[in-house]
Amino acid sequence: MNMVTQEYLRELLRRYMEGEGTQEELKLLKGYFNSASDLPVDLVPYAQMFAIIDEETTVPSVEALNRFSEKQAPAPRRHIPLWPLLAAACIAAFAFIILTPPKQKDDMAIAYVDGKMLNDKALAMQMGQEALQEIFSNGNEEQQLTDLFNAK
């Protein structure tokens, strides 16, 4: 500490008071004032000031402050492109429409006469019933005899 000359000490104090001092210089000042025994009168208030500063919470280093500020800084926003998600949704919807088998109609009655489709429920039913009646009545002996008689 004795190495620190009065002139250098005053220069450090000036820098500190003007906010130009470094952490190293502050450390040096604190060390000096903590150990100094015969201070010039004009430097006693500084000794008291550094004693108070020493009691307070340690001032975080510039590096620590920098690290802190880095952590506080908002993280750079990740740009997630939307188009792949939209494309995937479209493909899924398309696949669903294509792959889902069409629901079978529960009711249907269509008649075709001479190749023409007639969406006539009554006619379709009538044609179906007549065909079945004709076939199921074949067991009727009387009908069979009539048919045989009519055949060439």
Partner: protein, 144 residues
């Protein structure tokens, strides 16, 4: 609608007479066809009824006879409760045949009728599916 027709038309897929239903024996333009499915058939305990009716020459009649005879191999039994059949000179006159179920509890039937006319044969072919037994169908459709 067209998609529906294709679906139902293939209901008797696997059977030889499907050829006739598809118009491969007699042109569809020359036949009368009915295709009914659903609620309309509920009173008859049927779910599907597909009929075709047309006039055929000797050659086509022989082909249809062969196709139907082949399908009869899938019949449940020769028992009266499962089949009605009559033939003359090797040709089927009429037949009602219950095939083996392809779905539990849903019976399948094929029916054939051939009426001889002076110049042609009037043929009727039926395919139907449902829970109705042959006895039920006889009761419903047989004329007294």
């Amino acid at each position: 609608m067209l998609f529906g027709i294709i679906l139902y038309a293939t209901a008797q897929e696997g059977l030889q007479i499907n050829e006739a239903f598809e118009g491969k024996v007699i042109d569809k333009q020359c036949m009368q066809e009915s295709l009914v499915k659903g609620e309309n058939l509920k009173p008859y305990k049927l779910e599907m009824l597909h009929t075709i009716k047309f006039a055929a020459g000797s050659k086509d009649r022989a082909k249809l006879n062969a196709l139907f005879t082949k399908d009869m191999e899938e019949r449940i039994s020769d028992d009266d409760s499962n089949m009605e059949y009559e033939s003359r000179d090797g040709y089927i006159y009429y037949a009602i045949v219950q095939l083996t179920d392809n779905k539990k509890g849903r019976h399948r039937y094929i029916c054939y009728q051939c009426k001889e006319n002076s110049s042609h044969y009037d043929i009727t072919l039926v395919y139907m599916e449902g829970t109705a037994s042959l006895a039920d169908l006889r009761k419903t459709f047989k004329k007294k």
